[in-house]
Symmetry: D2
Subunit: 293 residues, 4 copies
C-alpha cells in the first residue's frame, strides 16, 4: 500500500545543458550527434526566446548500454559546440553533489533539507553545516552532520568568510545552500561560487527585499505572502530566481501567523530549488533562469 | 442537473459594520442590543488586532419578521456606539448599489463585470460606462449600458475629471470601478470618492507598481505573476488592498503570455473585490482592509 | 500602459504531433528531416513514458520563409513515419477551427468562450450555438451568433441528435464544446466526433461524477471543489481529462456558494482546454492525454 | 532579521465549542454570560447552517486576569447550555495534549510532525510512536521518542490492537495520528477513540480511496493530485474531512513522481489538521467538520 520508500537511486544518465544564439538546425545537430553514438534520449527540452534570439536546451540520455565515456563525448562534441557558439555543460545524474548548509537559528529549512537527504531524495552528500550561531547544533548532531560555528562579530567578517571559504574548499563543496542564514555575505565570498549559492528569501521578490519581510507584508496589508529561492549575487535579494510560491492570508493573520505560515512555503520552495539544481535543470542567463521540467 | 441559475436575489438582511478600540464586553453589548429587538443574527464575524488594540465587527441579521425600521435601529444604537467610541455603518443587503465602470481598451474586465451583473450576481445597477477611448463602445452597446467617451488630451484633464465627477453625481454613483482604466486620476477627483473607487492593478503589489508590470515581471524573471484590487488613494498603486491572487509562470512564458495569463487573474480578482464591497464585507483602517468572509 | 490588445494573430507555423513506440534515434530522425528542409523549429516537446514504452512529440516550426507546402511535407514524411510506426498529424496554427457551442441555461461558460473568441484569442470561428432550451438565446444574439433550439423531450432524442449532427456537418464543425450542456448524449452521436467534443464537468473527477456534483461535495464535506474538462466518450464523465483546477472552500459555504465559486473555475478550466486543443497541444492515448505546454 | 524562533507558547486562553439548533438570541446569551464574568473575548466565530437549522460557535477568551476557574465556568454555564439544548466543550489552550503517532515505513509525515513538535509549535507531548514495522525506529531514536513495534501478522491483529489500546491508556493519549500508518484498523479499536484519530489519505477524497491512490490517479490521467486528513471512522477513508490540499501535475509525471510530489502535500495537510485539532478549532457534526479559523 505504501511505495513511498523514498530510497530513490539517482538515474544512470547524463545531462547536456546548452545555451547559444538561436539558429536553424540546432536540435537536429545535437540529436543526430547523440543518435550516431547510440544514445537513447530520455528527456529533451528546448526553449527559444525570440526577443533575445537565444536558444536553450537540456538533453538527458541513458548511460545503461552506452559505450562512450563522458570524456569521449565531451571531446567529440566540441566541434558541434563551436559551430553553433554554444556554452555547454555535461553532467552525470548519479554523481554525488557535495552540499554545505549555512544556517542561523530557524530550524525548519534545515530539518526539511536534512530529512530529504536522509530519505535518499538527492544524489548528494552534506559533509557540513556552517552557522553564525550555536542554536542549531542539536539538529546537526541529531542528523550526524558536522557543525561548524563561525560567529560573526564586529570586524571579524573577512576572517570568518575566509574560514568558510577554506572549509568549502577542503570539503570540495559544489553547492552552498543558505537555509535561512541571516548574515549578509560579501561579494568577496560570493564571487568564488557563481550560481552555486542558493538562498531562500521569505517574500515573493521583488516585493519586500531586505530585513523583516513578514513585518513589511503585514504593514502593507497584502493578501498573499510568498517565498523566493534564488542564486546569490552581489546585489542583495536580487539574484536569478529559481522557484517561488505563495500562500493566501487574511486580516486575521498577525505578523506571527505570517511567520508561521511562511515557514511551510519557505522550506518547500528551497527544497524544490535544490532539487532542480541537483538534477541539472537550471540554466542561468542574464539575471533570469531557465528551469527545465 | 444545473442549478446555476445565477438569478440570485439579494438577501433581505441588514449589515452593521463596526470599528473601535478593543474592550471587554463589546460583542455582548452589540449582540444583546440585537437580541432585545428580536433580530436573528445570520452571520457575525469579529476581529481584534492586539498590536493596535483595535476591534472590528460585521453583524448581519435577518430583516424578515424584524419589526424596527433601520432608522429606528440607527437612532437606538447611537448610545451603544458612543459608549464604545465606535465608527459604524448600517446597510441593507437588498439595496441596489449604483456602479460606474471606467475602462480604456482591454475588454476582459469589463465583460467579466457586465456578465456577472447581467447574471444577477450583484445587488447593483450599472447606469454608465466611462472611457478615455472609443474601443469598448461596442461592448457597452452589446450589454446596453450607456457609454460616455471622455478623451484625455494635453491640458484637458481637469475639465474631463470635472465632467466625470458631474456624471457620477447626476447618476448618484456609489461605487466607481476602474476596470483596466489606463489613466492616472488626480487627487482632486479621488478625494470625492474615499474608499469608493476600486482599481485592478496587474501585478501582486507592492511588486511592479506603475506602468507595464508584465514587462517588469518578465525582465525580473519571476516565477509567479499576480493581480491586486485595491481602493484608489492619492498614492499611485498604494491604496488599501482588497483581493490578490497569483498564477504560476515559467521561463517559457513571453511577455505576451504573461499578459494573456494575467487577464484571467485580473478579472477574477477585480470581480471578487467588487463582490466583497457590495456585500459590505470590507472595512478600511489605516492603509489596510478587513475583508470579512 | 495597456498592451492587452487581445487581438492576437495566430502564428504562421505548423505543428506535427507524433505518437509511437519509443526507440533510439526518434528525435534525431524527425529533427533532421526538418533541418534538411530548412525548417526553423520554434518549439519541440517530447515525452517518453517508460512504463508503456511510448513516445510522444510535438514539433512546431516557422512557416515564414519555409518553401515546401504542407502537402509536400506530409508526403515526404511518410517513410520516416513508417519506419518508426508513427501515428501522426500535421496542422497549421493559422487555420481557423470551426467550433459549435452546446449550452443549456447557465451563461457563464458561454459568455467566457464568446468573449475570448471576440477578443481574438483563438484562431477559430463559432458559426453556431445549439441548445435544448431557449434561456441563452439572448446571449447568442448579443454576440451575434446564430442560435439553434433543439429541445429534447420524451422520444425525440434520436431525431434531435440527428438534427444536431446534420448541423455539424453543414457547418463543417471541427470541435464541439459542451459549455454546461445539461443533456446526456448517446454513443451514436459521440462516435461521430472522436476526441472532438470537449465537456466541462463541475467536479474534480473522478470525484462526484453524474448529477449535482456540488450537492454531493457539500454532503461529503470536502474542503476543495474543482472542475474538469475532458473529451466526451461513451462512458459518462469518464473520458480523457484535459485540464483540471480546484478552489478551496470551507464549512461556511452553502451549496449555493459552491455553485457560485465553482462557476469561476468551470469557465477557466473549459477555456484552457479549448485553447490547448486549438493550439494542437493535446494528444490522446488510451484514456489519458498528453497536454504539451 | 529572523523572528522565526518557533518557540511559541500556547496562549493562556480558554475555548468554548458549542453546537445546537439555531435560535434567536444564542450569541447574545453566550457573550453576555462571558461579559458578566469579565471575560475578554479574543476570538469569536459562529456559523449557522440554514439547511439543517444548526448553529456552531467557537469562543476563545483571555485567562489572564480572569478570576473564575474553568470548573466554575462549566457549572455556571450549564443552565445556559440547557436552555438552548447545546452540546458543548470547554478547553484550555495551554493544556498539553498527549499524542501517539502511528507509522509504517514512510518517514516524511513522521519527521514533519516531530520537527514541529520539537520546534514548539504545538501545546502537546508525544510520549510514543507505534509501528507495525521497524523501518522508522531510527527516526524515533533521533528525536528521542520511545518506539513500540507491534507487527501485525496473520491472526494476531486483535491482540496487537488490544496492546495498542493498552498503550494509549497507560500513556493517557488524547489524540492518535496515523502518519502514513499502512494497516487497516478494526472498528473495535476505532470505537475507543471517536473523533480522536486523525488519518492522512494520499488522495483528494472521495476520489481514489483505498490502496495505491497514486497508481489510480496515474491510471485515470488526472491533472491534479491531493491529500486528505480526516477523522477515522469505521468506514474506510470516509470519515469527516478536516483539511485537503492539492498539487498540479502533468503527463510528464510518472507514478513515482506523483508519490514524490504527493509527499509534500501529505505532510502539510496532516500537520494542518493536527494543528486545528489541538487548537480546538474542529467541530464534527454528522460526517462533516466545522473548522474555525
Amino acid at each position: 500500500m505504501s511505495g513511498n520508500s523514498g530510497e530513490n537511486e539517482a538515474p544512470q544518465s547524463a545531462v547536456l545543458l546548452i545555451s547559444c544564439p538561436d539558429r536553424s538546425g540546432l536540435v537536429a545537430a545535437v540529436t543526430t550527434f547523440m543518435a550516431e553514438r547510440g544514445g537513447n534520449i530520455l528527456d529533451l527540452e528546448q526553449h527559444a526566446e525570440e526577443s533575445s534570439n537565444s536558444f536553450f536546451m537540456r538533453l538527458e540520455w541513458d548511460l545503461r548500454g552506452f559505450a562512450p565515456s563522458l570524456e569521449d563525448i565531451a571531446r567529440e562534441f566540441e566541434p558541434v559546440a563551436e559551430r553553433f557558439s554554444m556554452k555547454w555543460e555535461l553532467r552525470r545524474r548519479d554523481q554525488l553533489a557535495r552540499i554545505a548548509l549555512f544556517v542561523t537559528k530557524a530550524p525548519h529549512c534545515l530539518v526539511e533539507l536534512l530529512a530529504r537527504h536522509q530519505a535518499g531524495e538527492w544524489a548528494a552528500d552534506i559533509p557540513l553545516i556552517v552557522s553564525n550561531r550555536e542554536d542549531l547544533r542539536g539538529v546537526a548532531e541529531r542528523f550526524r552532520i558536522p557543525f561548524h560555528h563561525l560567529p560573526v562579530v564586529a570586524g571579524n567578517k573577512p576572517a570568518q568568510e575566509e574560514a568558510a571559504r577554506a572549509l568549502m574548499e577542503s570539503h570540495r563543496i559544489d553547492l552552498i545552500v543558505f537555509a535561512r542564514y541571516m548574515q549578509i555575505v560579501t561579494g568577496g565570498f560570493i564571487r568564488h561560487f557563481p550560481n552555486r549559492i542558493i538562498n531562500i528569501h521569505h517574500s515573493f521578490l521583488p516585493a519586500f527585499p531586505g530585513a523583516r519581510p513578514y513585518h513589511q507584508a503585514h504593514e502593507r496589508g497584502v493578501k498573499v505572502i510568498g517565498a523566493t529561492s534564488h542564486y546569490v549575487t552581489e546585489d542583495l535579494d536580487a539574484g536569478p530566481i529559481i522557484v517561488q510560491d505563495v500562500a493566501r492570508i487574511s486580516h486575521r493573520d498577525s505578523v506571527e501567523d505570517l511567520i508561521r505560515k511562511g515557514r511551510d512555503i519557505e522550506k518547500l520552495v528551497l527544497a524544490r530549488a535544490v532539487t532542480a539544481h541537483l538534477e541539472h535543470r537550471v540554466l542561468v542567463y542574464g539575471n533570469r533562469t531557465i528551469v527545465f521540467q
